[in-house]
């Protein structure tokens, strides 16, 4: 039996289960004082909005340079992908693989995974809820690792500032890439996995 079926709701911050007050739009947890809801408010709509924004930013994030190197040889622009290629060619393929997974595979799979969760939940599909919850947990866990390239650009830009030899600047691609990471992280937070399970209650509750 679920909490909502029993007229109860759990605080997302401290876990205290309390009786739902349907007429109180701003019900507050009796123990920790945070707002409590049966489900995260407007979860599907908010997650879609954030996901679409992230998908739009995903294009400049991969097309525009994340890093611009200026030296006496001229300027060189690096995108996310060319950065991985550089690592691969310069001989450290294990690191190239790590960066490839964190910067290219993870953001793309994250966009696909969140879209999949949203669509299956909206259609109230009863298909493999446990696996879909597991997918949600993975999206939440793995998202932060995409920040890797942002940190690399930050450190290189901070360090390589030798006017007579070479300077490194962060490019517009870094701004777009950073916003993809932030938008998908917030999208994962606004999605409510309990909605996956609500479809299971349809006719056996």
């Amino acid at each position: 039996m679920t909490a909502s079926a029993a007229g109860l709701l759990a605080c997302e911050a401290c876990g205290l289960v309390s009786r739902a007050q349907p007429h109180d739009a701003h019900q507050v947890c009796a123990r920790c004082g945070s707002h409590v809801h049966l489900r995260k408010p407007h979860s599907i709509e908010r997650t879609w909005a954030l996901l679409i924004a992230a998908a739009v930013m995903y294009i400049p994030a991969n097309v525009l340079p994340v890093m611009v190197t200026g030296s006496f040889l001229g300027t060189e622009e690096d995108t996310i992908l060319s950065g991985v290629v550089y690592l691969w060619v310069s001989g450290s393929w294990p690191l190239a693989l790590v960066v490839f997974i964190a910067s290219i595979t993870v953001p793309m799979l994250k966009l696909i995974a969140i879209a999949l969760l949203l669509i299956t939940t909206q259609l109230r599909l009863r298909w493999r809820p446990r696996d879909r919850t597991k997918l949600y947990r993975m999206v939440e866990f793995v998202g932060r690792w995409s920040m890797l390239d942002i940190f690399v650009v930050a450190i290189l830009a901070g360090l390589v500032q030798i006017q007579s030899l070479a300077t490194i600047r962060a490019g517009l691609g870094a701004v777009a890439f950073g916003s993809v990471v932030v938008l998908t992280m917030i999208a994962a937070m606004t999605f409510d996995p309990r909605l996956i399970w609500d479809a299971m209650e349809r006719d056996d509750g």
Binding site: A13, V17, R31, T133, V160, Q161, V175, R194, W197
Partner: protein
């Protein structure tokens, strides 16, 4: 450590079997109601329906959390005062601290990227460590600090944005990229960040939210 218990699901009409004093909890990932069970030392309870972690037993949690947190505070200060890496190219020397890297991005008009690095590498870990220290020091002596619930919620909100372990990997990738063109000198802050990563992970593993909530009254 990985001893786990599966909670009995709560079925309609079975409330008469409830053990006296056993509290009822709901899974935050699938909303299933269940009764709390006692855990073996170091064990954890999982939701029988969706498999989510419900709660853990962490022996000596307050003492261990405080110890790891205080160690992390020292490392955090070191990580932010000393240079992360230094660079030698043809007689030119340059070094950067974390905040120096943020400052450079800011000067390059990349305000968004600069803020993102500042928040994830410096501000969020700082808030997390300050909140843990503020909560654990008095709790260890059996006192409840002022605003405990608020501080806990602040720490919870900030936690996903603290990315010390990702920063560490980022520093390593930068080192490899630079090693091809210049002589790189790992700074004191590099070792501090590496150790900080382990201390933050250890503090989070030792910390048990239930120790905090057990001290707070429920006011209807």
């Amino acid at each position: 450590m990985s001893d786990s218990a599966i909670n009995p699901p709560l079925n309609p009409g079975s409330s008469s079997e409830a053990a006296p004093g056993a509290s009822i909890i709901a899974c935050l990932e699938c909303d299933l109601l269940q009764r709390e069970v006692a855990l073996p030392p170091g064990g954890k309870a999982c939701c029988p329906r969706c498999g989510a972690d419900l709660y853990r037993d962490t022996p000596n949690s307050i003492d261990r959390t405080l110890a790891f947190t205080l160690a992390a505070v020292v490392l955090f200060v070191l990580a932010n005062t000393f240079p992360i890496v230094g660079l030698d190219i043809k007689g030119h020397h340059n070094a950067t601290t974390l905040i120096g890297a943020v400052h450079t991005l800011y000067q390059q008009d990349k305000f968004l990227v600069a803020s993102l690095v500042f928040v994830t590498a410096i501000l969020a870990p700082a808030i997390q460590l300050a909140a843990l220290t503020y909560m654990m020091l008095p709790l260890r002596r059996g006192r409840v600090p002022r605003g405990l619930a608020l501080v806990f919620r602040l720490m919870q909100a900030v936690r996903p944005w603290g990315m010390v372990e990702v920063l560490m990997l980022g520093v390593l990738v930068s080192l490899v990229k630079l090693a091809a063109i210049a002589q790189v000198i790992p700074g004191v802050a590099l070792w501090s960040v590496a150790l900080l990563m382990f201390m933050v992970a250890a503090a989070s593993a030792a910390f048990n939210p239930r120790d905090v909530w057990a001290r707070l009254p429920v006011t209807p």
